[in-house]
Symmetry: C2
Subunit: 632 residues, 2 copies
């Protein structure tokens, strides 16, 4: 290859324009090296495409529309995941298409409805004692009899507990002028021995903090008034890292394999947070620099990506995190748009797959105060379980797979507009669909999936082993309205939830035998993990006083259905309760109370992690737990 | 004024080119707003012009040469400070000339000879125990039985004294890869509980530190090998802040009055240090990131400017510093080109005019070990005095004025090539001139000035009151060779040291009656300060066991002359000794020994500062101390 050719190849750049489909939708332009995939261009442009596999071509989610001249022939993966009608209308998979010249890409609209049921939490039941303190000071005026430095005369007026102050160059630099401009009447903002700000006059009644819950799917930020502990705003955004894959393993791979991958993923989270901070501040008429502290939680991978710590070795066994301790750093170092000098605290981590979000859940569950035996379950792509009792805290995690979040399921989707979220079968099929009235179904989300399988199991459409009827005699036992919904697709059975005439996409929306298998694997992993923890703590099902379901998923699933399919040990439904957004609540508690922050560290250190991959009895428990309704 | 005009006025830029006069000399170009002075352009270009008054036009030092077409008429200040010959050859004052269009400026060569007598210090007499420690670690390899984070497994191998380590995001970010790339065999670099670096393999024998002495006139940097305590290189540069004035008050005014002034002055020091670091590293074949710590000293103003702390309120009474404590910050925050993560420590400050350099002098003088009564005197533009005895440490400072540094003296100059540095009068005048043999005199520096006045006083050319003979009968008492050197210049007497035929400038080099007055004021202030300290400690001249002279000036002046004119209390010359570059030595000691660093803090806290401006008896002492030879 000649040098000239080589050079032209590496330097050719192309421009990709992403357009939102609705009227008045935004455009996003980005310049990328020729040969980049549309998905890579989307990530570079900050456009959030769904992607569950991180560009491997195995999830079929990263759909966009190309104009007629740009389509070419469908790729094999597109023929696999897309209907002929979709292909005809220009839908392609963004990860499978490379950009060789300037290109326009039409985005497929999907309204995010993560807000469907949540509300602002309030009424915390603990002492308001934030780390952030404001001290209104009357500083001594200098004289030849008192030639102490400005820093010393400020420090002398602070409570002994806050001194000696750590030196802060940026504040010391301006302190002489600030003191004199305010006639030596100032308000000092401290966090332990750190001086965060020196404000002219008395600003004691202005103090804000941020609680952050970094989910793999959704990032939620809460703005709190630190003077009364109230949540005054809550914003959420889809985690833009989605483009690099729906699950943490895809994101770890993205960070490990791309030179700038880690920094890109970090920037995405920080940018999203900054956008929410700006919006909440405008909404509430406050300034970002009046936010003095942020407390964040997230799973171990999200925690690493948030701080920009190499997550590579979280992926392979033995799943080693870079750090586990609670970390406090300056907002400016992270680029988080609160007070530059403000502090960002990430709650501690327990293990490679039991993150600070789980510690937040423990905090919100006040597990140190519980008497008896209690189980906390946080289900997402990964399931984290915490079993508390006998003075011990046991944790484990299982890779439940993405089925509960709608990935790996033929018509699976996130809990967004058009998703089936609840299913009832009583001779016929009744559905609840996310969105306004008469919204047509586009797919099924996790809670709908659990409902559907539970109802199908109860109705005898599937056996305890998870099989759909294959013989005529078995089919004949079903009521006709259900029988006709069981289709035989080249020997692969599927159960139609929505006929194509009623669906938003023009195709049948069904659950396949493979989908049911995926759900069995997911629920089996969770239940097996719980059984291992029960074994290690030497407790039986009847010993369990309560099961708490944490996270958005825990808010939405039907307890009955979860018990019916055997996702949880067979306790009375009365013993199962939702904790709401427990991880985020834990972050809020640590923000509002230094005692809770200390407790978080204590809980993380006390927790004993059980590594299921090293547990000899896990495989056996897992095989048992695959059975539907198996609540042994 | 129309908008257009206004705009064109504020946006017009002109290009100034500074050229060094010697063959092969460098050029420096800078673009500045039209209307800037040449001095401002020089500061912006990083060109170091002498300037004692900071651009007020009162010192006449900032001389440059303009081409014939650019000269115009001489300014009044130029007629005052420059000879007709100089004006004819194009010499102008840079502060008095504004640049309205592109301009070439010829620089007047002045070789810096601060190196004339100093040598590398060595043979420190204290334990080598730097704060910087290197730990060669064999870190435990992870397993499912040992799932601790990488940070924890590193920390576990460190001595307990260094733990718990403060979290360092940048190091944690790369730690997983560093550990695995080096098969878990690393060298950790610590400073107390700070982790500074994790290096692959065993690097225990590579460790460097920097000692920095920031003088108002000269910045000196010493590169030390922390494994054996040896100084391996020493570089010095003229402090480029000179352009903003020779003395600290001019620099404070510059920082206070120019919006970017403080940041400019800070950048100048840091840039100079970075240049020296780069040169020393190249010279010695080491990398800047192998320098882990820098310890700096400087007077209080220099200390503030080094850290970028507002020095404004150091200037007016009651002379309040922004900070006094020892300060440690990250090199990256300061922009100092050692390891980014390396630490920079500034020794503590005692008062507005007794800085960390004086603390360095105390350390180098080992004043905590001295028995009896000892006086330390550090003379520059300001004189700092330390009187030690009876278990106390008393300090004071006086604004000696710039006479000792050659400023404010008609032919005064820095101790550079062509400066008269020693004078002997024995019937005729004998001189020593800095530079190679046969170098012609261009002016007189501080040590020469003290010698000259002492010798003139001894020879009867000036009276104890400092007057030169004005009557014929008084003149007739002098030997003819001296008598003819006393000129009457419109009633103003002057004493010719070098006749114009022998001088480098073609004009007589003389001491004027005004020069002698300036010296009297300077030495009177020093002596009065010493007397006040002696009064406060209740000691008499005969109680003094030793007088230490610190700083470059102390190295060069003749003890006999200093005693002769009454700069110091009248002790035996045997009791007076030079300390060498004591401030820089103190910085080296604190770098090489944690115990010395702690001692520095103790000494600064123990020191009692006597504010002379508030001392009722100072005026009286000062008036007495003006008399030459007055060693009461």
């Amino acid at each position: 290859m000649s040098g000239e050719k080589y050079e032209s190849k590496i330097t050719k750049k192309v421009c990709v324009t992403f357009k939102e489909s609705e009227p008045g939708g935004q455009e996003y332009q980005v310049t990328v090296p020729a040969g980049s995939s549309i998905l890579q261009a989307a990530i570079a442009a900050g456009v959030h495409l769904q992607s569950a596999c991180g560009g491997k071509g195995t999830c079929g989610k990263c759909r966009v529309i190309l104009g007629g001249q740009d389509r070419g022939k469908p790729m094999p993966e597109e023929e696999k995941f897309l209907s002929p009608e979709q292909i005809a209308s220009g839908v392609v998979l963004a990860c499978k298409r490379t950009v060789e010249s300037d290109l326009d890409v039409l985005l497929i609209q999907q309204k995010d409805v993560y807000d469907r049921k949540t509300k602002l939490e309030a009424d915390h039941n603990y002492e308001l004692s934030p780390l952030i303190q404001k001290h209104v000071l009357e500083v001594d005026i200098p004289s030849t009899q008192d030639q102490r430095s400005d820093w010393e005369r400020l420090e002398a007026k602070l409570p002994v507990a806050n001194t000696p102050l750590n030196f802060n160059r940026a504040l010391a630099a301006k302190l002489p002028q600030v003191l004199r401009d305010s006639s030596f009447q100032v308000t000092a903002v401290t966090a332990d021995n750190e001086l965060l700000a020196v404000e002219p006059g008395n600003t004691a009644n202005i103090s804000y903090g941020l609680a952050i819950d970094i989910g793999t799917t959704t990032i939620v930020a809460y703005l709190l008034n630190l003077t009364d502990g109230k949540v005054i705003a809550r914003h959420a955004l889809t985690n833009p890292q989605q483009g690099a894959g729906a699950d943490v393993l895809s994101r770890i791979a993205y960070a490990a394999e791309n030179p700038e991958g880690l920094s890109q993923l970090q920037t995405m989270v920080i940018d999203s947070l900054n956008q929410m901070i700006l919006n909440m501040c405008q909404e509430k008429g406050i300034k970002p620099e009046q936010i003095y502290q942020a407390v964040a939680v997230g799973n171990t991978t999200m925690s690493h990506l948030f701080l920009g710590i190499d997550p590579t070795y979280l992926a392979p066994a033995p799943f080693i995190p870079g750090f586990r301790q609670a970390v406090t750093i300056k907002a400016a170092e992270l680029g988080l748009n609160i007070l530059d000098n403000g502090i960002v605290t990430l709650l501690p981590i327990v293990a490679g797959y039991v993150g600070s979000d789980t510690v937040g859940v423990m905090l919100a569950g006040r597990i140190d105060e519980l008497k008896g035996i209690h189980l906390l379950v946080d289900i997402g792509t990964n399931g984290e379980m915490v079993l508390v009792g006998k003075g011990r805290i046991l944790t484990c995690s299982t890779a439940a797979g993405p089925a509960f979040e709608g990935a790996g399921i033929k018509f699976g989707m996130r809990a967004a507009e058009g998703a089936i979220e609840a299913v009832k079968i009583d001779g016929d099929v009744h559905l609840e669909i996310i969105g306004e009235e008469k919204t047509k179904a586009r797919g099924i989300c996790g809670s709908g999936l659990i409902d559907a399988v539970a109802e199908m199991y109860k109705a005898g459409i599937i056996t305890p082993e998870g099989r759909m009827p294959t013989t005529k005699s078995a089919l004949d036992k079903l009521p006709p309205a259900l029988r006709e919904r069981v289709l035989n697709n080249n020997g692969n059975r599927e159960f139609v939830l929505v006929w194509k005439e009623q669906s938003a996409t023009g195709e049948n929306i069904s659950l396949t035998q493979k989908d049911i298998r995926a759900l069995q694997l997911a629920k089996g992993a969770i239940l097996a993990g719980i059984r291992i923890l029960m074994d290690r703590l030497e407790v039986k099902v009847e010993d369990i006083d309560q099961i708490f379901l944490a996270g958005a998923f825990g808010n939405y699933i039907s307890k009955e259905s979860a018990l019916e399919i055997g996702l949880l040990p067979k306790v009375s439904p009365a013993k199962v309760q939702s904790m709401g957004n427990a991880a985020g609540n834990g972050a809020q508690m640590a923000l509002l109370s230094s005692a809770e922050m200390v407790k978080a560290m204590f809980l993380a250190q006390t927790a004993e992690h059980v590594e299921l991959s090293a547990a000899k009895d896990f495989q056996n428990e897992f095989l048992n737990a695959l059975t539907l309704g198996q609540n042994y």
